[in-house]
């Protein structure tokens, strides 16, 4: 029997040399006349350890972290195929603190299996949810999702089951399931990691959504910045169809569901659901006014379920294990687990799936290990470019939808970006406005013009020009954007800006650079 070695093909692993590592291991094995099977798995989410090579042994899977291609001969010399001792050896991967402390439901298989092997998928509980759904009436499936308490993981936190109920109840000759894989938020990568590491879970979730609501066609809209995820989804869809899990007769049930992966074209606003639908239909990604809701009139005017990758990928677990088992995780009105993403200036960045209620500090300090730079942690932006910057004093805020709102922030897609004390929050506030100006779809004046004005006003404040007056102006501008924008791009851009102003006002009150320089030359 040949030894099984796992070298991730997740794009994060590739970004730090996993391809060369896989080649070097294969070459070294050949040279030594050893039979090995190299599985290209997804990522375990311990991105800081990539490339993380694992070897299957009788004791379990043994990991070797941050392996480089040059390490291959030494690894073989150390007997790594039997889990031998080597400086890169981490021990049993499942027992590592980072893994053992998680509650991995949605990501249970990610990094474990071969992402494109249906056999591997089934051996790890894949399609159990779909099989149960096929044995239930569609309305029962919808109620199961309602009872699980699952809320949309794309940012708005709307109850997924309720959305499905509307689509199920709509009469139409054709309905759609659209998966929002636009994942534009900085600091987030869970959708990408799932699509690259366990794409069948998303396919299964979308198929269940189709069966529950009467939709027969699905689209996954993937941002073009994710070429690897796009290819992984395309291959997985083809494999699922070839295996009889998609098509006119899903798993021999006589019921139809099929899907396609589609590529976005570099527009942040296309993550907004109505803009995404416009884009899928082939138009400019301009936001539509609601109502009508997509659930009533969505893609091509037909009733459409539109959900984030993580919402849909949570459904197979819920169906397989029951709504109650899922709802047992979490706090308050945030039920289940959230794949959090720890990013930015941290020692250990990656993905951690935990029940709602964990605090920002636990993630950034315990899991993340503090700043990568070793300097003092100063701010954590939670929830992407439209999310608030949290100061040290608020790091014990629990991550759940309501607690975040109460702290004038939002959970968004669950991304956390840490900054050390070299950060200038006035600059970050300016960037928030600038990003809104770059990405605005152009439909509303407060968003399109207000954001550009916002950049100018912040520049004036920083330059020390009529500070009080311009501060007032900035607050008014934020009000206008909050109240007068059609979608959350314009509507929430004030959130990072106001959090910076509130918690880090000193950054807006520094001596203006020109004056500071002038003072320095004076004795």
């Amino acid at each position: 029997m040949s030894a099984r070695i796992f070298v991730p093909a997740d794009s994060s692993a590739l970004a730090v040399g996993a391809e060369a590592v896989a080649r070097a291991i294969a070459k070294e094995a050949r040279a030594r006349g050893l039979a090995v099977e190299i599985v290209r798995n997804g990522s375990r989410g311990m991105v800081w350890l990539e490339p993380l090579v694992e070897v299957e042994t009788p004791q379990g899977r043994i990991g070797y972290g941050q392996v480089s291609a040059g390490d291959a001969p030494a690894l073989f010399d150390a007997g790594f195929l039997q889990g031998g001792e080597h400086p890169a050896r981490l021990g049993k991967v499942e027992d590592l603190d980072w893994m053992a402390r998680q509650q991995r439901l949605t990501f249970a298989r990610c990094g474990v299996i071969d992402p494109l092997s249906l056999e591997d998928y089934r051996a790890h509980g894949g399609f159990d949810g779909l099989k149960r759904a096929l044995a239930m009436a569609p309305a029962e499936v919808v109620e199961e999702v309602v009872d699980s308490g699952l809320r949309g993981r794309g940012g708005a936190g709307f109850p997924t089951g309720i959305k499905w109920r509307t689509v199920a109840g709509a009469e139409a000759d054709r309905k759609y399931v659209v998966c929002n894989a636009d994942e534009g938020d900085s600091g987030t990568f869970a959708d990408r990691m799932l699509m690259e590491g366990d794409p069948f879970t998303l396919i299964e979730g979308m198929t269940i959504a189709g069966l529950a609501t009467g939709a027969t066609k699905g689209f996954v809209y993937i941002r073009s910045e994710y070429p690897h995820a796009f290819r992984a989804m395309q291959r997985a869809i083809d494999a699922a169809r070839a295996g009889g899990w998609l098509g006119a007769d899903v798993a021999g049930s006589g019921r139809a569901f099929d899907m396609e992966a589609r590529l976005g074209a570099g527009a942040y606003v296309c993550g907004e659901e109505t803009s995404l639908l416009e884009s899928l239909e082939g138009r400019r990604g301009q936001v539509r006014a609601k109502p009508p809701l997509p659930a009533v009139q969505g893609l091509f005017g037909k009733p459409t379920v539109i959900n984030n990758v993580l919402s849909l990928a949570s459904v197979p677990w819920i169906l397989a294990h029951g709504a109650k088992a899922y709802a047992d995780f979490g706090m308050g009105r945030s039920r289940g687990t959230q794949p959090f993403q720890i990013a930015g200036n941290v020692k250990r960045g990656g993905l951690v799936e935990l029940a709602f209620g964990v605090t920002i500090r636990e993630l950034v300090e315990d899991f993340g290990g503090g700043t990568a730079s070793g300097r003092k942690l100063r701010a954590v932006q939670v929830g992407g470019p439209l999310g608030a910057y949290f100061p040290e004093a608020l790091l014990d805020t629990p991550l759940d939808y309501e607690a975040m709102l109460a702290a004038k922030g939002m959970l968004g897609h669950g991304g956390l970006v840490a900054f050390d004390d070299s950060v200038d929050l006035a600059k970050q506030a300016r960037f928030a406005m600038q990003f809104c100006a770059i990405e605005s779809c152009g439909k509303c004046t407060p968003c399109r013009i207000g954001s550009t004005r916002g950049v100018e006003v912040i520049d004036k404040i920083v330059a020390g020009v009529a500070r009080d007056k311009n501060r007032e102006l900035l607050l008014d501008l934020c009000d206008a954007m909050t109240d007068g924008s059609l979608c959350a791009l314009g509507g929430l851009t004030p959130m990072p800006v106001l959090s910076a102003l509130t918690h880090f006002s000193e950054d807006f009150e520094r001596k203006a650079p020109a004056r500071q320089a002038a003072e320095q030359v004076r004795p």
Partner: protein, 164 residues
């Protein structure tokens, strides 16, 4: 579009029509067609737009509107290599702005521009989903993470080598 219609086409019209015809049956075929055209020709020539419009039965204005809305579609070819550097928050927290300055000063590269010899285009991008490896970039579609000045210099050296 202000273009001289008498000028010879810079692309093979037959091939463009073949690409368009091969995808026009898709639901919402516009973006798949535009991506395929750009993949084949490196850009979307203004004179491809009427071909797409007529195949999809939409007005030229609508087709042009779609092309112009999306950051991805170029109206002129990029350099032989494309470096897309992330400028979003996570990469900011790890010093991407310093790297952009380095590219500007040491390599005379400016975001949004192509070098005079057509070798390299530098572009801004806002998040690549590599935020646990910030600062990150895409080099000809392949992700690179944990960038610093040295790694960037090495990458640019390799790209130059690849072209020699």
């Amino acid at each position: 579009m202000g273009q001289d219609t008498q000028a010879p086409l810079s692309f093979d019209e037959g091939r463009a029509l073949e690409i368009i015809g091969g995808l026009a049956h898709l639901e919402g075929a516009m973006l798949p067609i535009l991506h395929a055209l750009q993949d084949a020709f490196g850009h979307i020539d203004a004179r491809m737009v009427p071909l797409v419009a007529s195949a999809l039965n939409v007005s030229r204005a609508d087709a042009h509107g779609a092309v112009s809305f999306y950051h991805d579609f170029r109206d002129a070819p990029a350099g032989r290599h494309v470096l897309r550097i992330c400028r979003a928050e996570s990469c900011q927290s790890m010093g991407c702005e310093r790297l952009v300055e380095h590219l500007r000063h040491t390599h005379r590269l400016t975001p949004g521009e192509t070098t005079a010899d057509g070798a390299l285009t530098l572009e801004n991008v806002y998040c690549l989903g590599q935020c646990a490896l910030s600062p990150a970039a895409l080099v000809d579609g392949e992700p690179v993470g944990r960038l610093d000045e040295k790694r960037l210099d090495a990458l640019l050296g390799q790209l130059k080598g690849a072209r020699a």
